[in-house]
């Protein structure tokens, strides 16, 4: 088996690594679709004011005469309980979702990565404390903690997401720790140490590059999870302030009108599904691209 793999590696030696990755990625229809979805979501979010039919409907506007209109040519996703265009609001809602993703992952991923790297490389008490803390954090249902923390402070999506951020790093720390620990025992780490490299160099220049694939796959899949999580929090009443368009709150608000005004739930719900599906497909695609297991 090993022989065959070697034979293959030998045969493909003149192919560059990036070519191989690109090949694996581009031959994976799911990954390509995922990329397109995520890209389109980002573009929609950025260009929301220019491409939505009624951008003013995300602000202080009500139109009770046009409430609960079913989808038609003017209102692609219908209108909501106060007569606002759901399509426009859903597109703007992508902004909140993506900002949440950036906010939560932008903070928790670096923290988790650094702690995971340190725990894996330094070992000893650093390892014991960080893994211990990780174990404690893992025992807490994130949703329960988010609810508890944000309700004790002030029940806003912001607070709930801060609570999530405080818990989320553990998953990354755990993952990076495992990679870091195995990389740390490799000969090239010792070689670098003998050559005189300090811990900073070893952590960030030697070990970190070996974690990039793991981090990017996990982060992508997490992006989907953050969006779902935000939607669940909104559903439980920890949403953003009205009239800010937030997909989770839109679903939550619309659910009382099921099934008569189904579009008020299903359309924003479909947008959530669209984005999370995109991130999931992209994550799977990246995983295949990096040829990771599991």
């Amino acid at each position: 088996m090993a022989e065959v793999k070697m034979a293959l590696d030998g045969a493909n030696k003149d192919l560059s690594a990036s070519y191989m990755m690109w090949y694996r990625f581009s031959r994976n229809p799911a990954a390509v679709i995922g990329t397109l979805i995520v890209l389109s979501a980002v573009i929609f979010a950025i260009l929301a004011p220019y491409i939505t039919p009624k951008p003013e409907d995300v602000g202080a506007v009500v139109n009770f005469r046009a409430r609960h209109l079913p989808p038609d040519a003017t209102h692609w996703f219908g209108t909501d309980k106060v007569g606002r265009d759901i399509f426009s609001r859903a597109v703007f809602g992508l902004r909140i979702s993506l900002l949440l993703v950036i906010g939560v992952l932008g903070i928790s991923v670096p923290i988790g990565t650094v702690l995971g790297l340190a725990a894996g490389y330094f070992g000893g008490w650093t390892e014991r404390i960080i893994t211990g803390l990780t174990n404690v954090m893992l025992a807490m249902p994130p949703l329960v903690m988010a609810l508890a923390v944000s309700n004790l402070l002030e029940p806003t999506l912001m607070n709930a997401m801060i609570a999530i951020t405080l818990l989320w790093w553990t998953w990354h720390a755990r993952l990076i720790y495992a990679v870091s620990k195995s990389v740390a025992s490799e000969d090239f780490i010792e070689a670098a140490r003998i050559a005189g490299a300090g811990p900073m160099h070893i952590l960030f220049r030697e070990i970190l590059p070996n974690c990039v694939s793991v981090i990017s796959v996990k982060t992508t899949l997490d992006a989907a999870f953050v969006i779902l999580f935000g939607a669940t929090l909104s559903f439980l009443g920890f949403g953003v302030k009205p009239p800010t368009p937030d997909l989770g709150s839109m679903v939550a608000d619309g659910r009382q009108f099921m099934p008569d005004f189904w579009w008020e739930v299903l359309c924003p719900g479909a947008v959530i599904l669209y984005v999370t599906l995109g991130f999931n497909l992209l994550g799977d695609g990246l995983r295949d691209m990096f040829d990771m297991e599991g």
Binding site: M1, G132, L133, N135, V136, L138, A139, M140, P141, P142, L143, V144, M145, L147, A148, V149, N151, L152, L153, A224, L228, A231, T232, F235, L236, G248, V251, A252, R255, M258, P259, V265, G269, I272, L273, T276, L277, N280, L281, E293, G294
Partner: protein
């Protein structure tokens, strides 16, 4: 190098105790440093300021935090988790009533999860890149991407519309006049009492929430099982068996399945906290009188003793689940057994 396995278990339990202690300190401090007056909450909207301050003193809220913590934990170890401000009775009594309901729901959900996900994972791996694989993967993808509340509500509405008689809320048909039994698990108690009708009713009531709760997990476990199967399939030992003519089905359903069940089990343990979190939503939608909906109310009402207990019990759930997972993995994997004992 073999060590006393008893000692290994003790060490393991020690870690868990530590987890619980840290968890309890965190939630205890959190619950008390934040603004807000639990006494006010307890007394309701019409209470006078005098009534509030009297209750504050009674609850010991005027003591310093460490004093409060020590006295709380001291009582907690004797099984006294304090009074619930909301229900005006001991938290332990509330938990005794609500925890079995959640345990029953979660257990059945976990069973559904594995019963569906493992075969699905095996099938998708076996028929890799064929239509079975695509359908299965799509299904599992939808499982992890659809918000569980949306799924639960849809399930409920559809059941109400197309299966008019199918129960959509609660744990049991009260018309049957069954008061419960020693375990608190309806399925078990009804059988103990020899009440098949109650058992059937309980099973019907369980079906929708358990399916809704298992949905996300099914997606997750299917994916993990599939990739574990595919990964293990590339291993030399598969080649060994193949080259000695052991049939493919035996290799898959016997050799690969057992080996590939380690990864989903591990994930199950780690994701157990998320499962409890999802139970909060599911119990709310299905009016399931479990500990999660109790917890949700406690959180919303700032019922401090109840919130603390709920978080601790969630932690305990996680720990017990992981202990079970550890034992299962040790049963499956001899390497793990020896590592444990080391």
């Amino acid at each position: 190098m073999q060590q006393n396995p008893f000692l290994a278990i003790l060490t393991r339990l020690g870690t868990f105790v530590l987890v619980m202690v840290v968890l309890s300190i965190m939630i205890f401090v959190l619950a008390r440093v934040v603004p807000g007056d639990p006494a006010r909450m307890a007394l309701g909207p019409t209470a006078t300021p005098e009534q509030v301050s009297a209750l504050r003193t009674e609850m010991g809220l005027d003591d310093s935090l460490p004093v409060q913590y020590v006295s709380y934990m001291g009582r907690a170890l004797q099984g006294d988790l304090g009074m619930s401000l909301l229900s005006q009775r001991p938290v332990t009594a509330d938990l005794g009533q609500t925890v079995p309901a959640t345990v029953e729901l979660v257990l059945v959900a976990v069973i559904i999860m594995f019963a569906v996900a493992i075969p699905l994972g095996v099938m998708t791996a076996h028929f890799r890149d064929r239509w079975v694989d695509h359908v299965g993967r799509l299904f599992s993808l939808v499982g992890v991407t659809i918000p569980s509340f949306l799924f639960a509500i849809s399930l409920q509405l559809l059941a109400a519309r197309y299966f008019g008689d199918w129960p959509i809320i609660g744990r049991m048909d009260h018309g049957l006049g069954f008061a419960g039994g020693p375990t608190g698990l309806m399925l078990v108690d009804s059988l103990l009492a020899g009440r098949i009708d109650v058992f059937v009713s309980a099973l019907q009531h369980l079906a929708l929430p358990a399916v809704a709760l298992s949905m996300a997990g099914i997606g997750q476990i299917t994916r993990i099982t599939r990739s574990a199967m595919l990964e293990n399939r590339r291993k030399d030992h598969v080649l060994t068996l193949q080259s000695f003519g052991v049939p493919e089905r035996v290799i898959i359903f016997r050799y690969l399945l057992k080996l590939s069940s380690i990864a989903p089990l591990t994930i199950m343990g780690l994701e157990f906290a998320s499962l409890i979190g999802n139970a909060f939503v599911i119990e709310m939608v299905f009016s399931w009188g479990g500990f999660a909906s109790y917890g949700l109310n406690a959180i919303l009402q700032k019922d401090l003793n109840a919130v603390t207990a709920v978080v601790l019990v969630s932690g305990l759930f996680f720990i017990v689940a992981n202990l079970i997972v550890d034992v299962l993995i040790a049963i499956i994997d001899p390497r793990m057994r020896r590592k444990e004992a080391r």
